[in-house]
């Protein structure tokens, strides 16, 4: 969360904003980041920052792997063994689900 807030600070400054109303994070299902833990951390570290009171939204990206034998992608349901539902082969070729991104920021409209 600290690195997320650093990015928020940096991007807000780059856009000339002094506070943030909404933060959208994009988190892959196998990124190792737990959305609940992230929300908890946000509650803990945001109050004294420019993100105080901001709404935190987390978009989860499902994990997908590619099966070399079938030449197709499949969704990884859970666990560490990625088995192709079509042929049963194991895959280590992860195509999505490791994302950890600051997707969007929204700032309050400047008062005229």
């Amino acid at each position: 969360m600290e690195s997320a807030l650093d990015a928020v600070r940096r991007e807000a400054a780059a856009h000339g904003a002094t506070s943030v109303t909404r933060i959208v994070l994009r988190i892959g299902a196998i990124s190792g980041v737990e959305p609940d833990a992230l929300r908890f951390a946000f509650e803990a570290v945001s109050p004294d920052t420019l993100a105080a009171g901001a709404r935190l939204e987390i978009e989860t990206i499902p994990a997908r792997a590619h099966c070399g034998a079938c030449q197709r992608e499949f969704v990884i349901e859970q666990g560490f063994i990625f088995t192709c539902p079509n042929c049963g082969a194991f895959s280590g070729d992860v195509r999505s689900g490791r994302e950890l991104e600051l997707a969007r920021l929204e700032f309050p409209a400047p008062t005229p």
């Binding site: 690195s3 997320a4 990015a7 991007e11 856009h15 904003a17 109303t21 909404r22 994070l25 994009r26 190792g32 560490f80 063994i81 082969a89 194991f90 895959s91 280590g92 070729d93 994302e99 950890l100 991104e101 600051l102 997707a103 969007r104 920021l105 929204e106 700032f107 309050p108 409209a109 400047p110 005229p112």
Partner: protein, 266 residues
């Protein structure tokens, strides 16, 4: 009047003085729609300023940034860095000793070795023809990219083609710390049992190469090689697997062949 009206030429204003119709309610969707609708409802001019920016910037932890820096540094020096991880006592140091004495005589190697305390391993690996740096981490249970950067800068890497980074013996935490290595090697010794990959999947998941070590005593221990290999394949189908013994030398030619394939041509 449902169609979009064409924009008026600049300077032209229309102001209904009497019989003004209420402004048509607009249905909005997308980001900030609720805020925009609320602002529009109270805005006399029907205009609001909205600031929403799409960024899509990756969030990198400090270690990831330093690891990428290390990767560039190693690449620039023309050497291949290997991160060796395993539980304590799987045979990392013993394998490196023999590797330096055999492979290290044909191809110049360097070693960065991490332990919580003592420079025992650094001294064991000390060879006149191979630069070695010992990293003592104190209480830290893994190496990180900044420790590796400092250690790599402390030794003369001129001519080194292969840099072994012997991580702190730990099957958990080193999985999360990229050191900027080109290849991650996970060692699994026969004394640990066949099911370690299933119990500690993240570190095996990240492996490019898995070395099944102490294979010479597999039979004595009742270690089932096929079961171990099958477990590794489930977790890490991408990984190459080499079965070897640093004591008898079984499998070492294959290991040296792998190292040779990494040593960048000069």
């Amino acid at each position: 009047m449902t169609n979009e009206t064409a924009p008026l030429p600049s300077g032209v204003h229309i102001n209904a003085l009497s019989g003004a119709l209420p402004r048509p309610a607009r249905t909005l969707s997308g980001p900030l729609s609720a805020e925009i609708s609320a602002a529009l409802a109270t805005s006399p001019g029907g205009e609001v300023a909205v600031r929403s920016v799409d960024l899509n910037v990756p969030l990198l932890e400090r270690n990831d940034i330093l690891a990428e820096r290390n990767r560039g540094y190693f690449l620039g020096r023309g050497l291949a860095a290997l991160n060796l991880v395993s539980s304590p006592g799987a045979g990392k140091t013993t394998l490196l000793e023999r590797t330096l004495d055999e492979f290290g005589r044909e191809t110049k190697c360097g070693v960065l070795v991490g332990d919580l305390e003592t420079d025992n391993d650094g001294r064991r690996l000390n060879r006149p023809f191979a630069p070695v740096a010992q990293i003592t981490t104190g209480t830290v249970c893994h190496l990180d990219a900044s420790m590796v950067a400092r250690a790599a800068e402390s030794i003369n890497l001129d001519g080194v083609r292969i840099l072994f980074i012997e991580n702190v013996g730990n099957l958990v935490c080193p999985a999360s710390f990229d050191l900027g290595e080109q290849v991650r090697v996970v060692l699994l010794s026969t004394t640990e049992g066949e099911d370690k990959p299933l119990k500690y999947p993240p570190i095996f998941k990240s492996a490019h190469l898995v070395l099944l070590t102490k294979i010479d005593v597999a039979d004595v221990l009742g270690f089932q090689r096929e079961v171990a290999v099958d477990n590794i394949r489930r977790i890490a189908p991408q990984a190459k697997i080499i079965q070897l013994s640093a004591r008898t030398g079984e499998g070492l030619p294959e290991w040296y062949g792998f190292l040779r394939s990494l040593a960048p041509a000069r």
